[in-house]
């Protein structure tokens, strides 16, 4: 195995690891940047996405939890993975919209701490509800049949097919959201609203609806992340909270509200983490990403691509 192959493997693994961070961070970042709303329930949306994905994909046997106590042996409608990939973002989009309308909206004008408390509370409720109903045990999330097994790549050799799929799906979605924000009228209104809300309202444009949609899109991205990230490992009630911290870190490193920033930061974190594991410093992989975050924030408090105005 050559050094080149080693480096390419690290980059590809890093891209895959980073992809999930990116998907979560982009949603989080546009909500934070546009609506100035700190959403600690973003991990819960990922969690909902993963469980919904399981539910739509197949039949999951229940061995503990309240539903099992009631005699329900399995849950799921068995429509397959592709159906989950299509349906989950739609459902989580609707959940996001409901969350904006009934939870977030009344907290826009309140301090960050209030927003953190209410969304974190919401996240805990979702997590514990799932635990109570479905049990705390981890469920394997089967990979889609069309993407299981290895694929042979030049130089690198075998690589899991699904992990390439994760990178591709992430790329498509992120480019889509970027185009929506940068090149459409909708995006223009959202960007203008971010810069000067009062002026936009004076021009006779209602901002509540675009904000609703932004929140929905951010939520849907987290939902997709749950579906594509589920088969990489397992699904259990803790995965949402576990993903929340790296996702926030990605947002902060990349610069709040910057989609490009989230992409760059996510890939940096993923690659660093993978590089540390593959070079024999696995124990340092978690420390590494926080150390990187600390260094970047010391040098550029506004994040890599953030502008100083945005931070204020």
């Amino acid at each position: 195995m050559t050094v080149l192959a080693d480096i390419l493997t690290i980059l590809l693994n890093g891209l895959q690891q980073g992809a999930i961070y990116v998907l979560l961070a982009v949603g989080l970042s546009i909500i934070l940047g546009t609506l100035k709303f700190v959403n600690f329930a973003h991990g819960a949306l990922y969690l909902i996405g993963a469980y919904l994905g399981l539910f739509i994909t197949g039949q999951v046997p229940l061995s503990n939890g309240q539903l099992a106590d009631w005699g329900i042996e399995a849950y799921g409608i068995g429509l397959g993975f592709t159906a989950a990939l299509v349906l989950v973002p739609i459902i989580v989009f609707i959940i996001g919209i409901l969350m904006e309308r009934f939870v977030a909206r009344s907290f826009y004008d309140r301090p960050d701490t209030d927003q953190i408390l209410v969304t974190f509370g919401l996240a805990v409720i979702v997590q514990e509800l799932l635990r109570a109903l479905l049990g705390g045990s981890s469920q394997p999330f089967p990979q889609p049949g069309w993407a299981s097994g290895p694929i042979s790549l030049p130089i690198i050799g075998n690589f899991p097919r699904w992990r390439l799929g994760v990178i591709a799906i992430t790329a498509v979605l992120v480019i889509g959201v970027y185009a929506l924000v940068e090149y459409t009228d909708f995006g223009l209104i959202v960007q203008a609203g971010t810069l000067d809300e009062e002026m936009v309202r004076l021009l006779g444009i209602r901002l509540s609806r675009p904000y609703l949609v932004v929140f929905g899109i951010g939520a849907a991205l987290a939902g997709v992340a749950g579906v594509v990230g589920g088969p990489l490992a397992n699904v259990n009630p803790n995965i949402g909270t576990e993903q929340l911290v790296p996702a926030f870190l990605t947002v902060v490193i990349g610069g709040v509200g910057k989609i490009e920033g989230a992409v760059v930061a996510g890939l940096m974190l993923g690659t660093l983490q993978v590089a540390l594991i593959q070079t024999g410093y696995a124990a340092w992989s978690q420390v590494g990403i926080y150390a990187l975050a600390a260094v970047i924030l010391l040098v550029r408090p506004q994040g890599l691509l953030g502008s100083e105005v945005d931070v204020a």
């Binding site: 394997p140 097994g149 397992n234 024999g280 696995a282």
Partner: protein, 460 residues
């Protein structure tokens, strides 16, 4: 073993008449037993938690007419499927102890009418596959619920933490699934007994099979769970594979509860080793082996999972095909005890029991039988009944619960995963051989036992 003298206390009399009242003379005859070859005769009618003959110690004497066992298993975390199956087996053991069935007829010391005239009750705990949580849960069982015996495991870190606590509290610990050398090695305790074999014995049983299958002069690479269990598996596999001429290229620790092994596996693939050992258990093991196969590692190297079980093979699905490993027990082991446990478990739960379930069931009955032989729940007497006890009634042939380290000397089943097309109805593995206990093990002054200091009985 000497039991307490001949004086009959008020409680003994009440228990004897109570037992006679509920099950009649035939039941009483079964309860008093006709000795049994395991040691010592059951006494006449059971002396219960006789507080007159022995001083109070731990949760002895037992108050009231029920005796409480604590079942401390992982109901969440990476070993939760194992834990759930253990819990099913514990509940079955409790049911059989109180009402008969299963192995009760074959355990001469047991009556199927409670233990020593007491009805068996239980409390369950969730260890979350975490040593601290497990310790707290066991502490609660001991302090609040007055458990006289705690059983559990699945995670050696858990078993070691809990048996340490049990030693301190003078409460019996019957280890369920724990495979680290340390459990009956450097961390052994007087109050803990292990039916399960350990990593050292796995190395002894597996190395010859691997050599025969894959030849000598192989290089191997290990990924191991980074705690007591994984560390001793890594050590022992290295030791015994080196003995057959294999060479370890590298071994890399992975944190317990890692769900994504892709980066570790890439590095393993790049090592160019002939064989990859995945020293992971439970869901971690199922994940690492399926991710290895998904990444195509099985095309260039042979994969070995030194310790696995039925739920793991099930979760890994087709990825377990051709993978060698040792297992605690399997329903395919064909003898009376094995078959009767499988039947009883299937009748109750409509599913095939796993190896950890057999351990849970066996350890609960083993404790109850020892208490019956001792004629008391007084822990030092129960311990003496278990030490050097010879038995052949748990489905793995003749065994000895060795006194010097409380490690069962037993045979080791070696298994190989079946291809997905042949997997069905709880059958995921092919039993390659059951390695005789004569071919594995070590003397009391060597191997892990050399480091074992059991500690005090509590009545010195």
């Amino acid at each position: 073993m000497p039991t307490n003298g001949s004086s009959v206390s008020r409680r003994q009399l009440l228990q004897t008449t109570g037992a006679a009242g509920t099950v009649g003379i035939a039941g009483l005859a079964g309860c008093s037993g006709d000795g049994g070859d395991g040691g010592g005769g059951g006494g006449d009618g059971g002396d219960g938690g006789d507080s007159d003959s022995y001083p109070a110690l731990g949760n002895f004497p037992v108050e009231g007419d029920t005796v409480t066992f604590g079942f401390n298993v992982p109901q969440s975390g990476p070993y939760s499927s194992e834990g759930q199956d253990e819990l099913r087996a514990y509940q079955l053991a409790k049911k059989h102890l109180n009402n008969g069935g299963g192995w009760i007829e074959d355990f001469e010391d047991l009556s199927g009418d409670g233990v020593l005239g007491y009805t068996v009750d239980s409390v369950n705990g969730d260890t979350a596959t975490d040593a601290d949580t497990a310790r707290q849960s066991a502490q609660r069982m001991i302090n609040r619920d007055d458990a006289v015996m705690v059983s559990g495991g699945s995670s050696s870190a858990v078993a070691i933490a809990v048996q340490g606590l049990c030693q301190q509290e003078n409460v019996m610990f019957m280890a369920c699934l724990t495979h680290s050398n340390d459990t009956t090695g450097k961390d052994c305790v007087r109050y803990g007994f292990r039916e399960m074999f350990n990593a050292y014995m796995t190395g002894q049983a597996l190395a010859p099979v691997l050599e025969e299958e894959y030849g000598s002069d192989n290089t191997f690479y290990q990924l191991y769970a980074d705690y007591s269990w994984g560390q001793t598996v890594q050590e022992s596999m290295n030791q015994f594979l080196s003995d057959v001429g294999w060479e370890e290229l590298n071994s890399v620790p992975t944190p317990l509860g890692t769900s994504d092994f892709s980066s570790y596996l890439s590095e393993a693939a790049n090592s160019g080793a002939d064989v990859l050992l995945l020293d992971h258990y439970g869901l971690d093991g199922a994940n690492s082996v399926s991710q290895a196969v998904n990444a195509g590692l099985d095309e260039d190297m042979e994969i070995v999972v030194p310790l696995y079980n039925r739920p793991m093979a099930q979760a890994a699905g087709g990825s377990i095909e051709g993978v060698f490993g040792t297992i605690a027990w399997d329903s395919q082991i064909d003898n009376d005890a094995s078959n009767s446990f499988t039947t009883a478990f299937e009748d109750e739960y409509d599913r095939v029991p796993s190896g950890p379930a057999q351990l849970a069931y066996a350890q609960t009955l083993q404790y109850a039988a020892a208490a019956e032989r001792a004629g008391t729940f007084y822990p030092p007497e129960v311990i003496r009944e278990l030490e050097d006890y010879e038995y052949d009634n748990v489905g793995l042939g003749q065994e000895t619960m060795r006194a010097c380290d409380h490690q069962a000397q037993r045979s080791i089943p070696v298994a190989r995963g079946l291809p997905e097309s042949e997997q069905s109805d709880g059958n995921f593995i092919d039993l390659v051989q059951v390695t005789s206990r004569d071919d594995v093990g070590y003397a009391c002054d060597s191997g892990p036992a050399a480091e074992c200091e059991l500690g005090e009985y509590g009545d010195e």
